[in-house]
């Protein structure tokens, strides 16, 4: 299988001198094309830090991240921007939205940066909002949304540019189980049918178990990296379908 991201000796130290804090220590990791990877661990263990480094949103103190086999620190700015704009999708733990802009404006930001025309970007952004059940809120200001709604806007924004890799930090953290399942469905559907590589940070074991691979992080180090066997993976998707059916039924009964 094709390596899409590779990390070697990744170390991240925050702060200076007496405030020094080592958030990641010598991490080695390879992620392959089309994988779905869960990064799990206790709060403060360094999951988000790792994800940010892999997504090239931050620079490691030591070590190297390779994208398609190329040293990311040596990428030209143009290529880096193209990568972020066209191939990556991000869902941040803290959402990060332009709170005074409308929901639609927020979702279409990546498309605007990609120089898509007004009509096209509006259409694509509306489609993405429909998938997360928020088409009714497109003209609302982002600041006026509930936590779960904000999270769904961020997911819409992460998928709107049809990315090859989605980095999602706690994508279901603020959602009730039914809405959460819906989002999970969306992500795994992209993974299965479009070959999108998923890197999901979560402390929800159920969500982690749906992934093909679970990386456990503790105190800035990887303590286990297990590939879920094919059959259990199969089982997981069966369970997912069952779960979906249950949700539908529950909704109908309401």
């Amino acid at each position: 299988m094709e390596k899409i991201i590779e990390a070697k000796n990744l170390t991240k130290i925050y702060g200076k001198k007496s405030n020094k804090f080592t958030a990641l220590k010598d991490i080695d990791l390879s992620i392959y094309k089309g994988e779905s990877v869960a990064i799990v661990g206790k709060s403060g263990s360094g999951k988000s830090t790792l994800m940010h480094l892999l997504a090239l949103l931050d620079k490691p103190t030591k070590g190297t991240v390779y994208i398609d086999g190329n040293d990311a620190s040596k990428l030209k700015n143009r290529d880096l921007n193209k990568l972020r704009n066209e191939r990556f999708g991000f869902v941040f733990q803290q959402f990060f939205m332009n709170s005074n802009d409308t929901v639609l404006e927020n979702v279409l930001l990546p498309l605007k940066i990609a120089k898509k025309g007004r009509k096209e970007r509006n259409r694509l952004a509306k489609d993405a909002l429909k998938v997360v059940d928020l088409e009714a809120k497109e003209e609302n200001k982002a600041i006026n949304l509930s936590g779960g709604q904000k999270q769904r806007v961020c997911i819409a924004r992460a998928v709107v540019n049809d990315p090859q890799i989605i980095f999602a930090d706690e994508p279901t953290g603020n959602l009730d189980s039914a809405t959460g399942d819906k989002i999970t469905d969306l992500l795994f559907d992209l993974n299965k049918n479009k070959g999108v590589t998923l890197i999901i940070v979560t402390h929800d074991e159920d969500l982690a178990k749906l992934c093909g691979r679970i990386i456990r992080v503790s105190d800035g180090q990887i303590i286990s990296d297990q590939t879920v066997r094919k059959d259990s993976h199969q089982k997981a998707s069966e369970r997912l379908e069952k779960e979906a059916a249950r949700v539908k039924k529950a909704n109908r009964e309401k």
């Binding site: 949103l57 700015n77 921007n81 972020r84 991000f90 930001l109 120089k115």
Partner: protein, 436 residues
């Protein structure tokens, strides 16, 4: 991001923090207003002078004086502070210019390029009074002479005087003269006689020189209110004026004037030739230059004040943008996360600054325009201060002037915006996103 989107976004961002934006625009507005107003007044005055000059003609007119020891501005200053002047046997005038000799007049006449039959020698006739043949009113006045080949006054009625005729002719300086002499209109005055009267200082006999009114001038900054007479009339009056003077005093001349062939000779060539015979030449352009120089000096000072106001405004722009960058660091983080280039982020802020400059400049220009137009209208009402000059506009707003002004202000704003923009574009995405 597309350029059009970039511009829209920057403009939109400006109106996020309205109070701050408006204060900054106000600061720029003051600078812009000051500069626009002064340059418009400068243009207005200059174009008025230009139009006056164009109607005056005089491309080939040149005047010559005796060369002074002290420079002219020193002489004017001395005159103003009242410094007593040395007596020089009557051989210098009140400007300190020495008398021109007969030999020099002859040399002047023979300078290649000088048109001989236009030469006017500065022996100026005077009158005791002039009397209307219509209502018999008497007036005192100074008399002027002028060459007539290229010099043509802006006329309300009639024609220019003719120096090469035997008839005595006169040109009235304005409508007030027409009225005072008892005529209903300028047209009515044309062809009528104005009597020039000289009272002989010895016999007290009144000598009459009736002259034909050939034309009436439009008011202009270039003619004094003196009536303009032709050479024959002047010479006749002068002969009477100096009748009793000893021969040595009769011919004292301090200025000569003529027209030269300006198509073949440059002003500098003629001035050089005049300088060679010990005189100093001055063309119409030089005279105009002095008038313009005076206005330019004043408006330049105002423009300088405008620029000082603008510099203060640019500090305001830097401040606004620095705060705006801080406020929007997260937004910058998002833009970087989704692959917006540093250059574009830089431009979005620089553009914001330029737009601030643009709106401030436009506001200053608009208010300046409205105010100047208003004042100009008031000035031209029946008791306004410009009523005598209907063709003069206080300020003129030509695109050739205000476009550079607006662009300059935008450029200053752009430069002022570069600093915060550079700072904004250098952030690491996640650092920018985490910024509180």
């Amino acid at each position: 991001m597309k350029t059009s989107d970039l511009i829209k976004q920057s403009n939109h961002n400006l109106f996020r923090n309205k109070a701050r934006t408006i204060l900054t625009i106000l600061a720029i507005f003051i600078g812009s207003f000051a500069i626009c107003t002064t340059t418009a007044i400068q243009t207005g005055v200059n174009s008025f002078i230009d139009s006056q000059v164009a109607s005056f003609g005089g491309e080939g007119f040149i005047q010559a004086y005796g060369k002074t020891e002290t420079d002219t501005s020193q002489a004017i200053q001395d005159m103003q502070i009242g410094r007593p002047k040395k007596y020089n046997d009557g051989n210098t005038n009140e400007m300190g210019q020495p008398a021109i000799t007969e030999e020099q007049i002859e040399q002047f006449r023979n300078i290649p390029g000088i048109i001989k039959d236009t030469v006017l020698v500065g022996r100026f006739g005077t009158v005791t009074y002039v009397q209307s043949t219509k209502n018999n009113e008497r007036f005192t006045t100074q008399l002027n002479q002028m060459t007539t080949k290229t010099v043509h006054y802006d006329m309300v009625a009639g024609t220019n005087i003719d120096n090469n005729t035997d008839e005595y002719q006169v040109l009235l300086p304005n409508d007030l003269w027409v009225e005072s002499l008892g005529y209903g209109s300028s047209e009515e005055a044309i062809g009528q006689k104005l009597d020039f009267v000289w009272s002989d200082p010895v016999t007290a006999e009144l000598k009459h020189f009736p002259a034909t009114i050939v034309g009436v001038q439009a008011p202009s900054v270039l003619n004094s209110a003196a009536v303009l007479i032709n050479t024959p009339l002047n010479d006749a009056l002068y002969a009477e004026n100096v009748k009793y003077l000893p021969a040595t005093e009769k011919g004292k001349v301090f200025t000569v004037a003529a027209e030269y062939d300006y198509e073949k000779y440059s002003a500098d060539e003629i001035k050089k030739a005049i300088s060679d015979i010990g005189l100093e030449g001055m063309t119409v352009a030089d005279i105009i230059g002095q008038i313009k120089g005076f206005f330019d000096a004043i408006t330049t000072i105002f423009t300088a004040f405008g620029f000082i106001a603008l510099i203060a405004a640019s500090i305001g722009i830097v401040n606004t943008l620095l705060m705006s960058v801080q406020e929007r660091t997260r937004e910058i983080g998002l833009m970087k996360t989704f692959g917006m280039s540093k250059i574009k982020i830089f431009f979005s802020f620089a553009l914001e600054a330029t737009l601030l400059g643009f709106w401030g400049a436009i506001a200053g220009l608009t208010v300046s325009f409205l105010l100047c137009t208003g004042v100009d209208n008031v000035a031209h009402t029946s008791d306004g201060f410009l009523k005598a000059f209907p063709t003069m506009h206080l300020a003129e707003f030509s695109p050739a002037v205000f476009i550079p002004v607006v662009l300059t202000i935008m450029a200053i704003a752009f430069i002022a915006g570069v600093l915060p923009a550079t700072k904004a574009s250098k952030k690491n995405p996640i650092d920018a996103l985490r910024y509180e």
